[in-house]
Amino acid sequence: MLELSKYRRITRKVYNALPEYQAMSDAELQSQTKIFQVALENGKTLKQLLPAIFAAVIEADRRVLGMEPYYVQVLGGVALFFGNVAEIKTGEGKTLVATMPLYAHALLGVKGNFLITANEYLARRDGMEMGAVFKWLGLTVGIGTEELDYQQKAKLYDADIVYATHSRLGFDYLFDNLGTEIGQQVVTRFNFAVIDEIDAVLLDEAQTSLIVSGAPKVQSDLYEISNWFFNNLTEVDYELSDDERSVWYSDLGLEKINNYFDIDDVFSADHFELYTHLILALQANVLKEKGHDYLVEDDAVILLDDTNGRKLKGVKLTNGLHQAIEVKEDVTLTKETKTLGVISYQSLFQKFQRLAGMTGTAKTDEKEFLETYRLRVIQIPTHEPLIREDQVDQLYVTNRAKVDASIKLVKSALQAGRPILIATGSVNMSRLYSLLLLQHKIPHNLLNAESAERENRIIDEAGQVGSVTIATAMAGRGTDIKLSSMAKKNGGLVVIGTERMANRRVDNQLRGRAGRQGEPGESQFFVSLEDQIMTENASNRARNYHEKLLLKVEAGTVEGDQALTSLQSRHLIDKAQQTRKNMESRQRRSTIAYAIILGEQRDKVYLARRQVLNNQQDEVERLIDLAIKVTIDNFVSQKQNLNIEVISSFIFNNIDETISLARIEQALIGQIQKEDVQTLLVQLVKETRASVQRRLSHPLQSQYFKKIIILKAIDDAWVLQLDYLQQLQVIVNGRTTAQHKPINEYGIEAQRSFLEMERQIQFNIFRNLLMSKIEDNANGSFDLAFPK
């Protein structure tokens, strides 16, 4: 609250400064940018100049866009400037709000100022629209759209202000650090970022990292047979946990496994792979539901996002589960791949000097924002007072009763001439409701992940009188339903929630579709004890209560189709949602702790890569010399290596396969001494190295070669390390029984394996240097083949 009054004071100062800027000519106003920049160079701070800067942008907005920010929008801009999460309701014009703080921070001239949007469409739309103001004021604007080549990317990230999606930024950063292109990196400056829908990015998506994958793994052929086995099972062969999130084979099922596959004990060490695939088949068939967790389209399995109902492009489940689903749905099997680069959103955005965000729903999670990201949530009041009526949830015992009650509301709203938005929890539920409405002869539109291409048209119609739109959570964030004047007169949009969604924020996002900008509107949620939020998160007590109620309904002592009104009932749903939130919060916290350790290692590796790319020749030489020394030292220091077989094998596989055995034998007669082996190896390496050098006649070629082999060495080892770290996380969690803190275990083991990786890199450099095949091309260039 203190913060808000401070920002109000600043906003007043802005309005005091405004007349001066309103009186300026176009040319004068445009020259203000230069004036501000000079003032900043001469020692003034942004904070001191803030009122003037904001006044200039406000006036520019008016002249270029014809839009003058309201008081509350300026207030929001101030809140964003200082690095907060501004809770700004839908329809209040968030896009314009962001222009003020972005302009201010861009004046520092350090580049790296971003407006992070939720999708490419918004990046383009807002970038073009708001970009016009920045350009008019003399700054450069970059808009991140699909498919940019290197030059375009460099130009994009060199702009003063960049409009891009969070995934684009993350992936471009990862790609900067992959591969062996000796070019400049493009994503290097992180000054200020305003994240749109910040709660979706930092909270909902905190569990998923951005992963660049490639390097396909060897495929297993056990998927099909495991799936076939499952299809021969019945319900008695497996058991589900209470929350229906875990499944395992019952004793009967295990017996069947041993019989069908003709083995004694599937739990013996030999059958581990088979058992793994049987578990995957079980999980894919029992826990993952088509139309709820994924869709099948174009011979592929597409995952669905459970907070916004949209298709997740390019995302797959890990550790074979995705492949198990592919087999279940009889779709072409895709290969499992290795991780080449990974970064969490938290790691990515912590790179910024200052971070801010906007969303319509943040207050409910302000503690987490504060604890994890040190971001305060500032609620910005609406321009017009909010008059939407949010009705108390109606709770029913059974799904059936709930659905009937909701249809009643649909009919009455239709009669009153109000447009209706029916929010469902999954693609399947949306289809179900569609069928129901058809039965009741109510025409409607259906918006879900399957009909996503028609989204704009459906939304356009959604605000008309007589319009009924069934949607998944897709119609939540960012959806603008504009009402016709008739609809407004009749009382505005009615949002009917047919179940409580994944969390409060998604609920509130859906509610927020009605009552924009002071319009009339209403929201009513219908819930039943059979909803997913209850079955997955209810306490045992709640479950017992539910069962007792069901019995009472059967006995006739409780009306099955009446809403439950007792205080106890009301609390149940809230508690279930709260439980889920606590669990997710806890998971996020632990994920972030691990991501921090991984991030530190990643930063070190990327730093090393950069150094190699930018370094002088003698540095590169030093690295190679060191690698050779370390590798040879490691080899000779192990006593078991000091025999002819091992030594010659080492030489053939890692130095040069053409060296004659006779030569080796001659050099090492009698009792093999460490020093003799060392001398021999050093000599052989020197010779081989020289011959490699001769192949690369041109000095530039030689430089390039050396840098590339080092980079490849680092990358190969880092891929393995990434794999290891991701598995390690799972493993240390199993060690809590020894009263070790998992995060401590993780940190120590991760460091140990990092040092091992360093040794591996030295070894890779050694091999790459001596064993790469160089093929000369006619035009003087050469092709390089790395040793396997």
Binding site: F272, L280, E600, L623, Y724, I731, N744
Partner: protein
């Protein structure tokens, strides 16, 4: 130098908090006199003070020590272990609130008993001067405030320091060391041979106990969700599963009857004999209590049945052992074995000196029981501290191709 920044900061915080604790230990309660000589309190009280960091005979602000905090922490972990479903769904705030109110409650009860005991202790309080109606509530108020303050120091250490909350016991142990040594010293004076024996015993005890305390029993398991099978996942638990909990609780349990009797103004030498470490009955009672608590806490700390159920749910299994009932039996058997071993060791360490004292008719040997128990608790605390320090030390101590390598 940004290196080890974290490490130094955290170590410094812990030292600062310990200093605050020591200061608090010396703030006298109003109405009472501090007596500086080593009083001959019963060894149980001494043990209690040792394991909870309180100074039970001295009327200071921190007289209650960490006892309320410990009780509520142990109580909560037992409760959440038994009722895991409930634990999963409560928020951090609620858990924190339960902790604070729990500390208040325990502190209230203990403060009540202690206030009365102080009131009746003629060495530190002159009855004639002030009425009970004023002294006792005031004393209680201060004692409870002290306990809450200590709990706050402990949680500050968790957040900003190293070694977790129980590091706060250290100052209490230091005072106990001096007391123990003062009481043992007369027997050693002039007998350099005995001193050498004590030294050897101490060192070997520390060595053996340290090894035992950090030793782990590992069971290799298979985890299908792990794609990369070059990793060796295992289930692990400490051999001394129960840790120092039995010691902490047993001293309270043994001290309880005496305090109750004092409260009710009943004087039964017969009952008291059972809870006095000097008598044979007391010694045997102590052994029984320790052993029972040892086994109990082992099972509560580990909950082998719960582990087996979790494993089944997640699809993990021990090689050659069917998930479900078979795994349960497998784990229970092994946990029982180590629980028994660990508890026997504990009993051995605590009771053998008492038995010797009994046989030799020299009550001075009871101090050795306390003496070794003290080392045991110290080892446990330092293990915790070491883990945290190690993690912090290695966290930032490496660089790719850098000249600075870690271990």
């Amino acid at each position: 130098m940004k290196k080890h920044d974290d490490l130094l900061r955290r170590s410094g915080s812990t030292i600062l908090l310990l200093l605050l604790y020591i200061i608090g230990q010396n703030i006298p309660l109003p109405f009472f006199k501090i007596v500086l000589k080593a009083t001959q309190d019963s060894s149980i009280e001494h043990m209690l003070a040792l394991t909870t960091g309180g100074t039970f005979s001295n009327p200071t602000l921190f007289a209650l020590g960490l006892a309320p905090y410990m009780f509520i922490t142990i109580f909560l972990s037992v409760f959440t272990a038994i009722n895991r479903e409930w634990a999963k769904r409560i928020s951090r705030e609620l858990r924190g609130k339960i902790q604070v109110w729990g500390i208040f409650l325990f502190a209230f009860l203990q403060a009540f008993v202690m206030a009365i005991s102080f009131y009746g202790n003629q060495q530190i309080f002159d009855k004639g001067t002030v009425s009970a109606g004023l002294v006792i509530p005031t004393t209680m108020l201060f004692l409870i405030a002290g306990a809450l303050l200590i709990a706050w120091l402990a949680s500050m250490n968790v957040e900003f320091g190293v070694g977790g909350p129980f590091v706060m016991i250290l100052p209490g142990i230091v005072t106990s060391i001096t007391k123990s040594l003062l009481q043992i010293y007369p027997a050693l004076e002039g007998h350099s041979g005995r001193m050498i024996i004590l030294l050897i015993l101490t060192v070997s005890f520390i060595f053996i106990t340290e090894r035992l305390y950090t030793a782990e029993y590992r069971i290799k398991i298979q985890r299908p969700i792990l794609a990369n099978q070059t990793m060796r996942p295992y289930l692990a638990f400490r051999i001394l599963i129960a840790g120092t909990f039995p010691l902490m609780f047993s001293s309270t349990l043994m001290a309880l009857p005496e305090q109750l009797l004092k409260l009710l103004h009943i004087n039964s030498a017969h009952i008291q004999a059972f809870f006095n470490l000097v008598t044979l009955q007391g010694t045997i009672m102590y052994a029984v209590v320790l052993y029972t608590l040892g086994v109990l806490f082992s099972f509560i700390n580990l909950m082998p049945i719960q582990i087996a159920e979790d494993m089944q749910e997640q699809g993990d299994y021990i090689i050659g052992v069917k998930p479900g009932r078979t795994t349960k039996h497998y784990l229970v058997k092994r946990v029982s074995l180590w629980a028994a071993v660990g508890s026997l060791y504990l009993v051995f360490v605590a009771v053998v000196p008492l038995l010797i004292g009994h046989v030799a008719h020299k009550s001075i040997y009871t101090n050795f029981s306390t003496y070794f128990a003290m080392w045991f608790v110290l080892i446990a605390i330092f293990d915790n501290v070491r883990q945290d320090l190690e993690f912090l030390y290695y966290k930032d101590n490496y660089q790719l191709f850098g000249s600075r390598r870690g271990v």
